[in-house]
Amino acid sequence: MIRSKQIELIRLGVTNLLGYPLRTFLTTLGVVFGVGSVIAMLALGAGAEQEILEEIGRLGIQNVIVNSVKPPETNKGNEQRSWISQYGITFTDFKQIKSTVPGLKSVIPVHMSRKQAWFGSKKVETTIYAVQPEYMSLFDLRTAMGRDLTGVDGAELARVCVLRAGLLKSLGIFGDPIGLTIQLGEDQAYEIIGILEDDKFRGYAREALAIDSSNSEIYVPYQTILGRHGTRSISRSSGTFEATDIELSQIVIEVTDLDNVLIVARMLERIFAINHEDRDYDIVVPLEALAQRRKTQQVFNMALVAIASISLLVGGIGIANIMLATVTERTKEIGIRRALGAKRHHILAQFLTETTTISTLGGVLGILLGLGLVQVLIFFTGWTAKITFNSIALSLSISMAVGIVSGIFPARRAAYLDPISALRHE
């Protein structure tokens, strides 16, 4: 059997390190904490990126969403203002998109209105979303209980609704809600046919779909609202009175081909720019937002890792420091090895092997620490964190590199010692 000298060198290096377990352990600490925090930062960064992906991905990267927004107050002089504020997407826009923009899979209209919902004596402020069944399936709004809205509901102008589970409690409904009737707005009775699970949209997605954070959406068939109530909406709350006439609150445009999403978005921008003088609309392109947010997040992640790397640097300096002391301490040994035929590169390799062993050991411990840290963070903060194979491989290579870099100076010093003076060293 031929045992390779490299293995022998590593074995002897480890033997040497094990000779001073406490010192070796203390020397690794810097790298342990450094790698631990790098792992944790990378995991949190990857988690945040994944969250963005899920959040925006939920909107569908093949969709473009247009929302009506209240335009900034314009000073159009004495022009008589209607008591009803009229703005936003119009049916004309809708028709124009349908007839002129090519390559669309579907164009879904949405109408929203603020209304009060009553059950018995309980009253809750809600937002009514008049939608088509496609909307529900496009955004994965599946009922956890009861049934989904169907095309038939719309065709019959049925007074049925699907609501958020969160609303049940505020309305004082504790038993089986399916089949119960609630009052929406002007004494219209709607039958509850399905219950949605609690909020699934977060952050950006919620904003893009114009959903507020109160978790109080009620979904009803689009035709029912349009056919029975029209587009006017009056909301009264604590003394104020607001009437609006928004023809369409939102249009969701589903593009057939992913490659065309940006082109469609540009076309929509042009249509709206021509049709609307005021900026009373907002075009949301999830695909663009995704790229943008990911880029921002990645820069942020890099900054986090850079900060975490400072402790790695300190760890490296620690190793270099201890190694310099070790070289002085082991001058005699170096002399002996040189006398027995060790070349300079052998001495160099020996010390580099030791520093690399120390730092790799530190790296392994650091990875374990980092994994633990991430679990603790997840437990206490509920943040999303994702440990990737790449982050582990990266940390391990960084820690090995730290060993080599921090070892070079002491190892060179050892290798260039004069053999005779080293041998005479006491």
């Binding site: 060198l9 002897l12 005699k332 040189r338 006398a339 027995l340 060790a342 052998h346 005779i420």
Partner: protein, 230 residues
């Protein structure tokens, strides 16, 4: 005598230590020829430059001036790596203070020269054990040097010196730290190695020890003199 038979040839070797005010002239023109297979003793007062000379012979150090031909090669023309290879393959060192690595056990100590040779083969590692057996230390393989007596340490050092089967042994007061009896055992070992055909240069301050060699030279004031045998 053909030049092939001369392993070591020193001509007008000078060695200075230090610089300027503290410049020390230690070797002041040494001439010496050592034949292949010869056993030579170097005596002299403390500080006379014996170890300095031996370090030059062992290629651990270079003379300030003068010519040193080692087995046909001009040592002045060799670089650090080539000198290291010579130390590793052709020379075995035995030191007065043993110079074992205390962190390594007996077997690992003996194996150190193998690390710096061409490759470690199982025959070579087996040889380490044989050598330790031949110095009656095969039962102490796992012990560390601090756990050994002086004589035992010197025997480990001798085994280590022989691992790469050097043609030349350089011993600097090999018995200096040993009592007469253990010193005698070490000397018998050295004589046996000489009988096997190795060239041996041994420093000693003890005239009786020097008598075990074939020839003795004496160093005084940086110069070398032949010693007449009775």
């Amino acid at each position: 005598m053909s030049t092939d038979d001369v392993v070591i040839s020193l001509r007008e070797i000078h060695k200075y230590y230090g610089d300027g005010e503290i410049r020390l002239h230690v070797l002041k023109g040494i001439n010496l020829d050592v034949k292949r297979g010869e056993f030579i003793a170097i005596t002299g007062a403390s500080g006379s430059g014996k170890s300095t000379l031996l370090n030059l012979l062992g290629c651990l150090d270079r003379p300030t001036s003068g010519e040193f031909i080692l087995a046909g090669r001009d040592v002045a023309k060799l670089n650090d790596d080539e000198l290291s290879t010579i130390r590793n393959e052709e020379i075995g060192f035995i030191f007065q203070s043993f110079n074992l690595i205390s962190a390594l056990n007996v077997l690992d100590n003996v194996q150190v020269p193998l690390l710096y040779g061409p490759h470690v083969t199982s025959t070579k590692t087996a040889r380490c054990r044989e050598l330790l057996a031949s110095v009656q230390l095969d039962h102490r393989l796992d012990h560390k040097p601090p756990q050994l007596s002086g004589g035992e340490r010197q025997r480990v050092a001798i085994a280590r010196a022989l691992v790469n089967e050097p043609v030349m042994l350089l011993a600097d007061e090999p018995t200096g730290n040993l009592d007469t009896k253990t010193g005698d055992q070490v000397l018998e070992l050295i004589e046996r190695l000489h009988a096997e055909g190795r060239t041996i240069v041994m420093i000693t301050h003890d005239p009786e020890v020097a008598m075990r060699a074939e020839r003795t030279v004496n160093m005084r004031d940086g110069l070398m003199f032949d010693v007449e045998r009775p």
